[in-house]
């Protein structure tokens, strides 16, 4: 008789290690990702964030163990990559793209009314219903990210993985993206795992943060994980998101007058060599 499934952990990572061409990309990552939560992976470039997502979806080989205690078997997943190379000449419409996922009827036999309605409903969720008849290749970066998210949501995943979903989107667009994502998660009840570089939005919207730099430096709720020492260890510059955690002076830059985190960089004081350059 199989053991009852624990219901609070969606993904369990145990001793996850990834090596490629003699290089260790991830080293002994152990973490639990709660079911129904919004887990955000933060870290510098090359920290292994995207690699961790690819391990979870089973796209690359790894050492260690990944299982899905809340679901038993790998659940229905959707994944939105960091970059999708859309062919500008391909006349694939947004509605067609949304029916590609999960509909067996080939596009050349036309779309049923139910398929159109299904696609429109998910476009509406990401406030992009006005894009329905546009070609995928004609969309701007921000529009494309929202349509890709709608495509992922249309699959009604149990586990949604997003790799820097708001990269290249302006500040208001990125905030809208997070709002939409949170609303969709509350409506559909999926578990979200996302890579992001936006620390302030991560602090606001995430329920758990994994701080990754080859290995897992810290994991927990945003307030507990995104501390000034952890962020310093991750990015090598003084960053504090919470005023009470400001353990080091964060002086403004002599060159630009902003908190550009360049005060400790030797190039910064030489303002005369690069006027106006922030760091």
């Amino acid at each position: 008789m199989p053991a009852p499934l624990p219901t609070d952990t969606a993904v369990r990572l145990r001793g996850l290690t990834v090596r490629r061409n003699g290089l260790t990309i991830l080293q002994d990552v152990t973490a639990d990702i709660p079911r129904g939560g919004s887990t955000v992976i933060v870290g510098p470039n090359g920290a292994g964030k995207s690699t961790l997502l690819l391990c979870i979806i089973g796209n690359i080989p790894f050492e260690g163990q990944i299982d899905f205690p809340a679901f038993g078997d790998p659940p229905r997943m959707a994944y939105v990559p960091q970059h999708v190379q859309l062919d500008a000449g391909l006349p694939l419409t947004v509605l067609e793209f949304l029916t590609l996922t999960g509909r067996r009827r080939p596009l050349w036999l036309g779309m049923t009314g139910a398929a159109r309605e299904h696609a429109r409903r998910h476009l509406d969720m990401v406030q992009a219903v006005h894009l329905a008849h546009r070609r995928m290749g004609d969309l701007s970066g921000g529009e494309q990210r929202r349509v890709l998210l709608a495509g992922a949501l249309a699959r009604r995943p149990r586990l949604l993985l997003l790799d820097e979903p708001a990269a290249g989107v302006d500040a208001s667009g990125e905030r809208l993206f997070w709002k939409v994502l949170t609303a969709a998660r509350q409506e559909q009840g999926f578990t979200l795992i996302m890579v992001s570089h936006n620390l302030s939005l991560t602090a606001h919207y995430a329920s758990q943060v994994l701080c990754l730099k080859g290995s897992l430096l810290r994991a927990g709720a945003p307030h507990a994980a995104l501390t000034a020492p952890t962020l310093r260890a991750l990015f090598g510059v003084p960053i504090h998101l919470y005023p009470e955690q400001c353990e080091e002076p964060d002086e403004t830059c002599a060159q630009c007058g902003a908190h550009c985190h360049s005060a400790d960089a030797p190039a910064c004081p030489a303002a005369s060599t690069a006027p106006g350059r922030a760091g």
Binding site: I57, Y79, V80, V84, L90, L100, G110
Partner: protein, 295 residues
């Protein structure tokens, strides 16, 4: 054994003979009826797969498969086997090899295809050069001749057309998703490797049959020109499929009929491709005008 395999192929001659009832003088002779049926079977296949070929940017792949026809036919002649079987078998083997190299190495797609391409062409030429008189037999594969299509080839084309139709029904959406992003497709439950290998195998078979119609030199054009024309004219991915079908059938039928006219007297394969290129030119002008208006 090969004779018994041939016996399993459907007899398409009654269908070809039925084409003789059409009110066209050139269709009153048997070889033209068979050629017309071959085009009616081949054009929808090349159009259906051609749409995916240009979406996957695999034009060079189909060119490499086409060139492996030499080696496949040479092997058949060398071992006294029917090239009808050795060519497709060798083509599928080469197609699967290219896909395996492409998936399993860090080399770019064009480099890996180029390596296999060079190997099979060199192998074919080596076999041909070793056997006196074989080079003359090879010219039919260089230029193709649909007028010499055999009843066995018609039966094979009919079976292949059914396979391509089945594949287009179950695989069109999946292949499009893989072309957009294979990792995203894999995460959504699409078995990327299986679909890529199946596509490579089916494309190899169709290319080998197309080599008989238009020859090695023009086989890629038969795949990509109708699909590229469809891209210029279609407003949706579904529409692109049907435009490609229309252009491929029109080019095939018109090209064959034109080539049969005494006042033209050109080879059928080249005429078919020229008609397709004419369609592409018109579509490009139309697309340019529409783009200008939008702009």
């Amino acid at each position: 054994m090969l004779e018994s395999l041939s016996a399993l192929l459907p007899d398409m001659l009654p269908v070809a003979n039925a084409l003789g009832r059409l009110p066209l003088d050139c269709l009153h002779v048997g070889f033209m009826q068979q050629a017309m049926l071959a085009i009616l079977l081949l054009a929808p296949m090349t159009a259906a797969l051609g749409v995916s070929v240009i979406t996957f940017r695999m034009a060079f792949f189909s060119d490499a498969i086409g060139h492996s026809a030499f080696a496949g036919a040479a092997l058949g002649l060398l071992f006294s086997l029917d090239p009808l079987f050795t060519m497709p078998a060798f083509g599928v083997l080469v197609g699967l090899c290219i896909m395996a190299v492409r998936r399993g190495s860090l080399l770019s797609a064009d480099t890996s295809i180029g390596i296999v391409f060079s190997a099979v062409v060199a192998f074919g030429l080596a076999v041909v050069s070793r056997t006196p008189g074989m080079a003359r037999n090879m010219t039919q594969f260089l230029y193709g001749d649909i007028l010499t299509v055999t009843p066995a080839e018609l039966g094979f084309l009919a079976l292949l057309a059914l396979a391509v139709l089945f594949f287009a029904v179950i695989g069109f959406n999946r292949l499009l998703l893989i072309a957009l992003d294979p990792v995203m497709a894999g995460a959504q439950g699409v078995r990327v490797a299986i679909w890529q290998y199946a596509f490579a195998a089916l494309l190899s078979l169709v290319v080998m049959m197309a080599v008989r119609a238009v020859g090695v030199l023009l086989v890629t054009a038969l795949l990509i020109v109708p699909a590229a024309t469809a891209r210029n004219l279609a407003r949706s991915a579904g529409g692109m499929f049907w435009w490609a079908q229309g252009v491929a059938l029109f080019s095939g039928v018109a090209g064959l009929l034109l080539s049969a006219q005494s006042w033209l007297g050109t080879s059928s394969g080249a005429t078919i491709i020229l008609v397709a290129c004419g369609c592409f030119l018109c579509s490009a002008l139309l697309a340019g005008r529409q783009g200008h208006r939008r702009g």
